[in-house]
């Protein structure tokens, strides 16, 4: 074997190794964020994926905490009608931005939702959390072990999810979202901005569907 063959062999091995490494990077490390994404005056770049038609004339920006019982009330009493009449019909879309302030498990739950997003399961995980919320803050229903159990029950790759959650990969993302809420004078959850083609309106609290309808109809 001459020297030239050895060098070619080394190069081939290096290329194969490089390709193998590139294709073996866990998907949890892939983050597709549109850093320029904003709705009205709010930067939603670090928020949830958009729910509904991206070209809808109205965007509802919801600031929420997974341990907040008023967010739970809104999720169960108002959101279904909005989904049916505005999101599914292409009149509006929705983005969820964290204001995780209520307890020590709140930021972790928000981070977990983005770990689920890595595997294309953001809204499934989001819905799972609001369907599983218990009435007591920090009683353990949203601790790391339960979050992993929720992921497992949704069929999410648990190894990737655990590595994402335990590493605190999305802690800065949640902090950024909290900061956005404070900069926009959101003083509690849930808080909303209804962003229309020409204007935006802020709504505080778990308001009923009739209020959202009135505001959105006046914008279309």
């Amino acid at each position: 074997m001459n020297k030239k063959s050895v060098i070619i062999g080394v190069i081939i091995v290096a290329i194969v190794a490089g390709l193998a490494t590139a294709f073996s990077v866990p998907s949890s490390e892939t983050v597709n964020l549109d850093m320029g994404r904003s709705h009205g005056t709010i930067s939603t770049a670090m928020g949830s994926p958009l729910l509904g038609d991206p070209s809808a004339p109205i965007t509802i920006v919801e600031f929420g905490d997974y341990q907040c019982h008023q967010c739970y009330n809104w999720f169960h009493n108002t959101k279904p009608a909005i989904t049916k009449e505005y999101i599914e019909t292409g009149k509006a879309n929705l983005v969820f931005v964290d204001l995780a302030f209520l307890g020590r498990d709140s930021p972790k739950a928000a981070q977990a939702s983005y770990c689920a997003e890595d595997q294309g399961m953001y809204w499934e995980f989001h819905n799972m959390l609001y369907n599983s919320q218990e009435s007591q803050i920090d009683n353990g229903w949203a601790n790391s072990e339960r979050l992993k159990a929720f992921a497992f029950s949704l069929g999410i790759d648990l190894e990737l999810f655990e590595s994402c959650l335990d590493s605190g990969k999305y802690s800065k993302r949640v902090q950024y979202n909290n900061q956005q809420a404070r900069e926009h004078n959101v003083r509690g959850t849930p808080g909303f901005f209804i962003v229309g083609p020409d204007s935006q309106e802020q709504l505080g609290g778990a308001q009923p569907f009739s209020v959202f309808k009135q505001v959105m109809d006046s914008m279309i």
Binding site: R104, R187, Q207
Partner: protein, 159 residues
Amino acid sequence: MVNTIKLVFSNFKYLILSTVFFSAMVIGLLILSEYIFLEPYVVSHIPSGTELGFVLILIISALSALVIPMNIFRINILKKSKQKMSGGIFGSVIGAAAGACSCGPIGFAVISTFGSVGATATAFLTNYEVPIRIIAIGILTITYFTTVRSLKVECKISQ
């Protein structure tokens, strides 16, 4: 008991006071607990699953509006001690605080100002909102009966 209530509330001043107490407490607590919204439109609703909280607010407001004017009557007319009055105020305050500190603006302000101590206090008041309100109703009820008994003795009202 009916005679005692008649005695106090036959005085128009105490009837007005009671109405003001009830209105202020019920409207204030319903706004804090998000049963009433003022912006962008004035609207009220009772979300499914929150009916018990609504009823407890009505009971606390009604009892406060009954007990506090009766005790003011005792202090003003009969020049008696303020001890029983404090029971009524204490019951009203803890009943109100239970629902106020949640994920709304007051809870947010408490947590932002006091950090983890505020978060712990807010979590406690939120987690035990219903039991605290029931305790407040208990305190107000006891205060009511002791006030009625005192007024019967002090005013020599017949059964």
